[in-house]
Symmetry: C2
Amino acid sequence: MIEEQDYLAKQNLHKLSDIGEFGWIDFLKQNQGNLHDFVKEGIGDDAAVLTFPESSKVVWSSDMLVEGIHFDLSYTPLKYLGYKSIAVNVSDICAMYSTPIAVLVSIAVSNRFSIEALNELYQGINLACEEYKISLIGGDTTSSRAGLMISISIIGYNDTNDIVKRSGASVNDLVCVTGDLGAAYAGLQLLQREKKVFEENPTVQPDLSSFEYVVGRQLRPTAKLGLINILKEKGLIPSAMIDISDGLGSELHHLCKANNFGAKIFSDRLPIDFQTKSVAELFYTDVEQYAIYGGEDYELLFTVNPKYFEEIKSIEEISIIGYTVNEELGIVIETKEGDEIEIKNSGWDSFI
Amino acid sequence: MIEEQDYLAKQNLHKLSDIGEFGWIDFLKQNQGNLHDFVKEGIGDDAAVLTFPESSKVVWSSDMLVEGIHFDLSYTPLKYLGYKSIAVNVSDICAMYSTPIAVLVSIAVSNRFSIEALNELYQGINLACEEYKISLIGGDTTSSRAGLMISISIIGYNDTNDIVKRSGASVNDLVCVTGDLGAAYAGLQLLQREKKVFEENPTVQPDLSSFEYVVGRQLRPTAKLGLINILKEKGLIPSAMIDISDGLGSELHHLCKANNFGAKIFSDRLPIDFQTKSVAELFYTDVEQYAIYGGEDYELLFTVNPKYFEEIKSIEEISIIGYTVNEELGIVIETKEGDEIEIKNSGWDSFI
């Protein structure tokens, strides 16, 4: 402990215990930003207080990011991590076809983190809050024996009774995804390789400039709130939806299980960025494996009635990748050669 | 890792990865119990969905318990820990004069925890949910590199616009506490001593039977929801309220700061159980130190207009311990001998 304190002091950094609980809450309050109209009480009491428009449905979720499991601080800037921790939670609210309102941010942090480091983390958190127009209105800050853990709870609402669940789809619905797939996993492959190179020879400077997109997708994914708003404006309500956090394969299985059906996906319809392809080539891997089993893209996977085919097709950021089928036909992908391959129920799994 | 797996296998225990994410979510769903009327969707989607009575205020909070900081598994049964993790969150909703509805439970857990151990934890969680009539409707489960972390988010409501905040009190209001103080800290002292004895000589069996009450207060504190209901029935609305998690001293400072006033407390009015006194004697400590600076009692500290004096006095579980004063008079305790001593802004602090 004393060593850590000395280490921080030598660099003119401060630790949480220097400012104490009052000081930290004051810091958070100052960084609270504008409060959403629905928020009646923010940081500073035993609980936050909100009101919602009449007959709203309140949508509520939580997600945890653990150092060494979900992120590696040797290549993850804290500001990006803060941004990501909010984005992954907003993504869950998007997947309910709902609008996010506010978050509670709880962090457990070891003494090696200075206030200055936490400030970086909160800059990213605040940036994401501004971008998604949500308020940070509470949480909990505590010590940990090892590493950093960020646990966020998010609340959103839906005032038109158009909640979209994982269930609700029919056979022959279109299967769609937003954005492109596999990029976050490609970014992770690169970052992990660079880390290894650096560990072996710290004088080597990584050059990731040709791979900015995929690295950015890993370090700072965005939630697809803009696209939910486009769908809402067009009156396009998906029949079922889930966000892609653990990989298309795993999420397809969730969706199919909730609806008791199967799905047929076409390999040539999978949206894949050219950088993702380059990385897959670099690692001698089939890029479809990235697209199907790579996690953390935080795109949305949804089904929609085929009557919306033309309208969905006209939205650039959405790809129709297949359709739902009877359960006994399984969950399969048709290759360019016309072969059918089973999509396995696997993806990123934190139960290591 | 392999060693841990062998260790579990040898004892015929199972790890999370044996049943996978689907299996674990199914387990949680089966243990979900009855859903509160306000809950429209529980475990199993990207988010839970709730509706609230018209013009309700929604009260929302979160609290984190970290192994090695908030609990020590060498003397904390997992079932008790599960119960406590819910109770400390319910306590925050009580402190807002509100009614808890539902929780999201996120846990990060290292591979040394078997499913059987997690089952114990969830038995305690479910027991508390039943007792406080709340539903467990979601959360997140992930691995951790070290130890167990429980992060809970709780939602409650208040449909009569009687939210009680930390602010709102006037000078000369009565200062009241529920239950008794210092017992949880006394329990902690005993448990830590027994742990040390055991480490030095594992054949010694601890006999804590004369201290069941204080040990129970530490390991399995209860939230004061029943008392909130009594106050509501009698139409007694506190002017300000906070729950005592870090100790009376610390919470008094929070309350006084929020209201810009001071407080005068009388030492002979502090409610202290005789077991707490016995433990303080055993450790040659002034029991008032336990009552003022010992944390984790999860009693409620509140102020109330003096016109309610008789009614408050008639409630057995409430003690009137002093009154609020002008800010310049400070936060003081009057001893039995008539001396005034400053109450410091200290208590249990997780920023170690």
